[in-house]
């Protein structure tokens, strides 16, 4: 009976079925419907841009990351999420560069998975926003056949892409900010407005988020907290001065739902305590409203999340739970 070799491991000897790759690939799976919707709305250009961003992220992870980290799925998420924040007409080399920058400078320089402070997809997007401010705010309209490109997707790197026939449209937030015009709320809920690939259909994003939350791969407190904060702040401002947009417009427009459901909930860059998650969410909500209404940009979700990412260590430290059997709050790291 002693002939067989015995496994000897430290306790506990059982473990739950959840694993980090399993969580990551579930997030990837839940992004598929959103990508499909983007393709439905923007045609082949959508797929091309998302694929380019993802390829940039994966190649960088493979080249500079530790071996095997490609299969944990996290670089895939970064690439897909970055792609979803880009306009359909973006030259592909820019999208790929953004993915590479997001993984390289948003994640790998910190030490790879779990070590980064900022959401890598948003680091990539912030880089593109700074480097190519015009290209990244050129929003194509819907319609046209599947194969018609929505811009100069195949422009060569660093050449000035000319877009003779591209028809562009302003986003609802841009219209609100610069022209004082409102967009129909139903169009925003279903995605028939100008905007980035995945920023358009609020309803679909919420559905995908509900799936992840039901499987407990996403902490519901963060999106709920962000949406409530934005709604309350917007409603209060609207009540004081009707010139400001109302709560429903604020919630359903721009990248708020994508940011609240998929970006702010990034496990690595959000707080670890539930109390901290509420604080984090409230901070993002307030910053979104402040940037959208008083800032120089029409949209503020990206900067709101990145700014709150930076204070996560402090939030974690301040919200340590009380250790069982102690009276005072324990010091923490």
């Amino acid at each position: 009976m002693n002939a067989r070799p015995l496994v000897v491991t430290a306790s506990p000897h059982l473990r739950s079925r959840d694993s980090t790759p399993r969580i990551m690939w579930h997030v990837v799976g839940s992004l598929v419907p959103i990508i499909a919707a983007a393709t439905w709305l923007f045609g082949a250009s959508a797929l091309l841009v998302i694929a380019a961003a993802t390829l940039g992220a994966l190649v960088t992870e493979r080249a500079f990351g530790q071996s095997g980290t490609l299969w944990d799925g996290s670089a895939m998420i970064t690439g897909l999420l970055l792609g979803l924040t880009l306009p359909a007409g973006l030259p592909l080399w820019m999208a790929g560069l953004g993915g590479a920058f997001g993984i390289g400078f948003g994640k790998l320089v910190f030490g790879g998975l779990g070590q980064n402070v900022f959401n890598p997809a948003l680091v990539g997007r912030a880089f593109l926003q700074a480097a190519f401010p015009v290209a990244i705010t050129t929003w194509p309209v819907h319609g046209g056949s599947f194969w018609s490109l929505r811009g100069d997707n195949f422009a060569l790197p660093l050449m000035r892409g000319d877009m003779p026939d591209a028809v562009t449209a302003a986003t609802p937030l841009g219209l609100m900010k610069f022209e004082g015009a409102e967009s129909p709320v139903l169009d925003m809920l279903f995605g028939y407005t100008g905007g980035s690939l995945g920023e358009t259909s609020a309803l679909l994003i919420v559905l995908c988020g509900l799936y992840l939350a039901a499987r407990r791969y996403l902490n519901w407190r963060i999106p709920v907290g962000i949406l409530i904060t934005v709604a309350v702040a917007a409603a209060a401002l609207h009540a004081v001065n009707p010139r400001y947009p109302d709560a429903l417009f604020m919630i359903s427009s721009g990248g708020l739902t994508l940011g609240a459901v998929f970006m702010a909930t990034d496990l690595v860059t959000s707080p670890i305590t539930n109390a901290g998650r509420w604080i984090f969410a409230a901070g993002i909500g307030i910053l979104v409203v402040v940037i959208r209404i008083w800032g120089g940009l029409p949209e503020g979700v990206m900067y709101a999340i990145l700014l709150m990412n930076a204070v996560v260590p402090f939030i974690n430290r301040a919200t340590q739970p009380r250790v069982f059997g102690t009276v005072k709050r324990g010091r923490s790291g």
């Binding site: 067989r4 000897v8 306790s11 998975l113 250790v323 059997g325």
Partner: protein, 443 residues
């Protein structure tokens, strides 16, 4: 608050797998050819050897004397001849000094006639002495000497006895079967303790997944004692002393203090039955009920096993391994110890032997911490295992102590839920040992 009274916050829900043995009545294991009796099978000082090779021992004779108050004697679990005293594998993974007894296969295995102490005529000191002489220790796994628990500091009083029938570890059913088959013995043990300590109130906490145990103890409830049978939420680690006290009394045992500081004495249900046996038959603790279970063993069951029976003999009696068997664990799969040698003997603290199949064992690969916070929501004492784990990897012991490493009970809930499969409990166990070594060096 109502919810909190019968359970605790946080914790995990591992699969129970108790159905394998929960319905199997306790059977007596035949005497093996040899018993190996470790002199150290309880918390505290090891027993002092009092036999030599060649001596004949009857069943129940001492082979080791208690070495001071924080110690208990060790008794022969079968009649036979002492063949040697030597270092032998221990179930905790170390080697320990053991008395090897070749069992006399023609012996009656009847104990010498002995005096049964009259429980109601004894003072508390006499009860404590009788319990120590019988070698009764905590049978829930920690093997803390029971007589020490029955001797609280003079300035503290015990108001409530809490009997631990939670048995929250997966697979294990030995406590369950004791409650189902020997409810009167449990109540008698409670009676002896209440009488000796002058305690008016006892609560028996049992997880709700053992309705037959709850029914058996309720049916046999003595009318003259204030004993409450309290069904508890099914959650790991419900049977941890501090969690159980919180569930039963709503009070938190202060960090670093003993349960008696909130007026509570906790005894495992098996220990209570062992106390009863001392005053029923006079027999010392030489055998215990062990669950043999798991998907890697052919014929699982609950057995009365002589202390000192080698794991190999016990498993052979259970039909041996299935083809899938991979890991042998003494104790439950959450806190038990994986065995490298099946020569190690069953001790007084051995609640069960679980043989896991290959696909159940932990996988070696682990990922970086993604700060998902699942460990914080699992930790029953509200630590931050994620941060503690990062400190442990860097040997930052001061930081770990400041974050209440000492309050960690090594229940393994954090490791269980960790999606990155980080061996948190193992890291904390190593860090605790490092802290102990550092304190010892400083002293």
């Amino acid at each position: 608050m109502l919810l909190q009274r019968f359970g605790f916050r946080h914790g995990v829900h591992p699969p129970e797998f108790k159905e394998q043995t929960a319905g199997i009545p306790i059977r007596r294991l035949p005497f093996p050819e040899e018993v190996v009796l470790p002199l150290r099978q309880h918390a505290g000082k090891p027993a002092r050897l009092c036999v030599k090779p060649g001596d004949h021992v009857e069943r129940g004779d001492k082979v080791g004397e208690a070495d001071g108050f924080m110690s208990v004697p060790v008794h022969a679990s079968a009649a036979g001849t002492v063949t040697s005293v030597e270092w032998w594998p221990h179930i905790d993974g170390s080697m320990s000094m053991c008395v090897r007894v070749a069992v006399d296969r023609y012996a009656m295995q009847a104990a010498r006639p002995r005096l049964v102490p009259a429980w109601d005529g004894l003072t508390i000191d006499q009860v404590v002495k009788a319990v120590q002489d019988a070698g009764v220790v905590g049978l829930g796994g920690a093997a803390f000497p029971t007589h020490v628990k029955l001797s609280p500091p003079k300035d503290l009083t015990i108001e409530t006895i809490v009997v631990n029938g939670a048995e929250c570890e997966p697979y294990l059913t030995s406590d369950h079967r004791i409650m189902v088959e020997y409810p009167e013995r449990v109540h008698f043990g409670i009676r002896v303790m209440m009488h000796a300590l002058g305690v008016k109130r006892t609560v028996v906490g049992i997880e709700k997944n053992k309705p037959d145990a709850i029914a058996a103890l309720t049916r046999t409830l003595p009318s003259d004692l204030d004993i409450t049978i309290l069904p508890l939420t099914v959650k790991y680690p419900q049977g941890a002393e501090k969690m159980l006290i919180h569930a039963v009394t709503g009070r938190e045992v202060p960090s670093g203090r003993l349960p008696v500081s909130v007026g509570v004495l906790v005894q495992n249900v098996g220990s209570v039955a062992a106390i009863a046996e001392v005053f029923e038959t006079g027999m010392p603790l030489i055998e215990r009920i062990v669950t043999v279970s798991g998907h890697g063993v052919r014929e699982p069951g609950n057995f009365i096993v002589p202390v000192g029976t080698k794991l190999a003999d016990l498993l052979a009696h259970c039909g041996g391994f299935t083809d899938a068997a991979a890991e042998v664990i003494v104790g439950g799969p959450m806190m038990g110890i994986a065995q490298a040698s099946l020569e190690a003997p069953v001790t007084r603290g051995t609640t069960g032997v679980v043989v896991l199949a290959a696909d159940e064992t932990r996988r070696p690969e682990s990922y970086p911490c993604i700060h998902c916070g699942k460990c914080l929501e699992a930790c029953p004492v509200f630590l931050n295992p994620s941060a503690l784990g990062e400190f442990a990897r860097k040997d930052l012991l001061d930081e770990m102590e400041a974050m209440h490493l000492a309050d960690c009970m090594l229940c393994g809930s954090c490791s269980y839920v960790c999606p990155s499969n980080i061996p948190l409990a193992q890291l904390f166990s190593l860090s605790k040992a490092a802290v102990r070594r550092r304190k010892a060096a400083a002293a």
